[in-house]
């Protein structure tokens, strides 16, 4: 991290959403697309300090010779080692903007368990919300995940409540930081379009200064429609940030946690 800070701008993107909403799958799909040579529009892939972490989450969306099925990424666990529950898993990308090829942009995505945010909404200062507070403070941009499966199922009432509480909590003190809403599992049949439309209306009402919605799914049958939105959402966050602030301030990383920041290998390999 210290190395990253020394050489460039670090942009932390916070992934926020209930458990099972599709956050880790979103990251896995993002990496799988980059790995196949697709680009985040306007940005060129230029490396990563957390390739094993990306590979591990994407391995569940990768076919192997010895089997024909895929698996979703393993459940993001509540504990992350020494700093248990305080620092999320982080996945890193180096990007070069097409309009400034000499510039290096370090982008860090947070992958935290949904429980952190649930706790955070109930009580901001709760011990169990330390990780959520970290994500909220460090992130320069957010993606809020809306689980279309749950929001159209039998638990849609509580699911809607949770999502809206979380959105309200995020908006409080958001400032100019962009907030993207990610409708996940877009492949599943939408039996309650009106219900979802109402949620969208609510979220757009007194929305964040920079707000946009995206629809994603891993399903190949709708890949032309859904996969590009994975890349586009990241591009939109970065474009907005760069327009808004020019040079975002670096992420201040507490020294004691540096070792624990990176997913899996828990060491900085840049």
């Amino acid at each position: 991290m210290r190395l990253l800070k020394a050489r460039s701008q670090v942009v932390c993107i916070g992934l926020v959403g209930a458990d099972n909403a599709g956050k880790t799958t979103f990251l896995a799909l993002l990496y799988a697309l980059l790995r196949q040579g697709q680009a985040i529009p306007g940005y060129r892939f230029a490396g990563s300090c957390t390739l094993p972490g990306w590979e591990a989450i994407a391995s569940s969306l990768t076919f192997r010779e010895d089997r024909t099925d895929i698996q979703f990424p393993p459940h993001t666990s509540r504990s992350t080692g020494r700093d248990e529950g305080r620092v999320p898993g982080l996945l890193h990308l180096v990007l070069r903007p097409d309009d400034a090829p000499a510039a290096v942009l370090d982008v860090v995505f947070t992958d935290a368990p949904g429980e952190w945010f649930t706790n955070w909404v109930v009580r901001h200062e709760a011990d169990a919300a330390a990780g959520a507070r970290w994500v909220y403070q460090q992130s320069r941009a957010f993606l809020l995940f809306a689980d279309r499966e749950r929001l159209t199922g039998s638990q849609r009432g509580p699911a809607r409540g949770e999502l809206m509480d979380l959105a309200d909590r995020l908006k409080h003190g958001l400032g100019t930081r962009p907030l993207g809403l990610m409708w996940t599992k877009a492949d599943l049949p939408n039996e309650r379009p009106q219900f979802l439309e109402d949620i969208s209306q609510h979220l757009q009402h007194d929305a964040a200064r920079h707000y946009r919605e995206f629809e994603v799914s891993v399903e190949l049958s709708g890949a032309a429609q859904w996969h590009p939105q994975v890349l586009a959402s990241v591009a939109w966050l970065l474009d907005t940030l760069r327009r808004e602030s020019g040079t975002p301030p670096p992420v201040p990383v507490p020294a004691a946690t540096e070792q624990d920041l990176f997913l899996l290998r828990r060491q900085i390999i840049c």
């Binding site: 196949q36 094993p52 569940s60 969306l61 076919f63 099925d69 979703f72 393993p74 190949l220 060491q267």
Partner: protein, 173 residues
């Protein structure tokens, strides 16, 4: 002028055959006029490529030559202006390159080779890289949740080919 050329690549990508082919061309007096470079000082130790050049002379390729001896082939070539260049090719077992990435560790001998080299030639053998099949190009026919099995892959820390080459270049940078 001394030049060290480091050929990088995993096992079985044709590193040793490349040096053997280069040697045969540079020593081929009949065709010397075609080439911009000529060998002026031949290698004093041909061990690493001896078997391969014998086979290539028969018009055949040799099998894979396992090497664990970290042999070095050195010779001097001159261009048409008479400019001499001493070339050194370390020959090593390609598995070493794999373990650099696997262990995230560059042993001192490799540190030395990397920093001493004036040029790197990265060898990739496309026909041995299987196309990656994932959700970006294949439909998930059966969707099963098998978290324990995903964890297994995770613990093994296996990298796909693109990730392997990116990581290799990042480590050597």
């Amino acid at each position: 002028m001394a030049h060290q050329l480091l050929i990088l690549g995993g096992p079985h990508v044709g590193k040793t055959h490349y040096v053997g082919q280069l040697y045969l061309r540079l020593t081929d007096k009949r065709r010397a006029a075609q080439y911009a470079l000529q060998m002026t000082v031949p290698p004093t130790d041909l061990t690493a490529i001896n078997h391969i050049i014998q086979r290539l002379r028969e018009g055949r390729s040799a099998g894979h030559t396992p090497s664990g001896f970290n042999e070095v082939i050195s010779f001097t070539v001159a261009d048409r202006q008479g400019q001499q260049v001493a070339l050194t090719f370390p020959d090593y077992a390609g598995e070493q390159v794999q373990s650099l990435v696997r262990n995230y560790l560059i042993p001192p001998r490799w540190q030395e080779m990397i920093s001493q080299a004036n040029e790197w030639l990265l060898f990739i053998r496309p026909d041995e890289i299987k196309p990656l099949e994932d959700v970006t190009n294949r439909s998930r026919s059966h969707l099963v949740e098998q978290r324990p099995r995903a964890k297994e892959a995770l613990a093994q820390g296996e990298l796909s080919a693109p990730a392997f080459y990116i990581e290799l270049l990042q480590m050597l940078r």
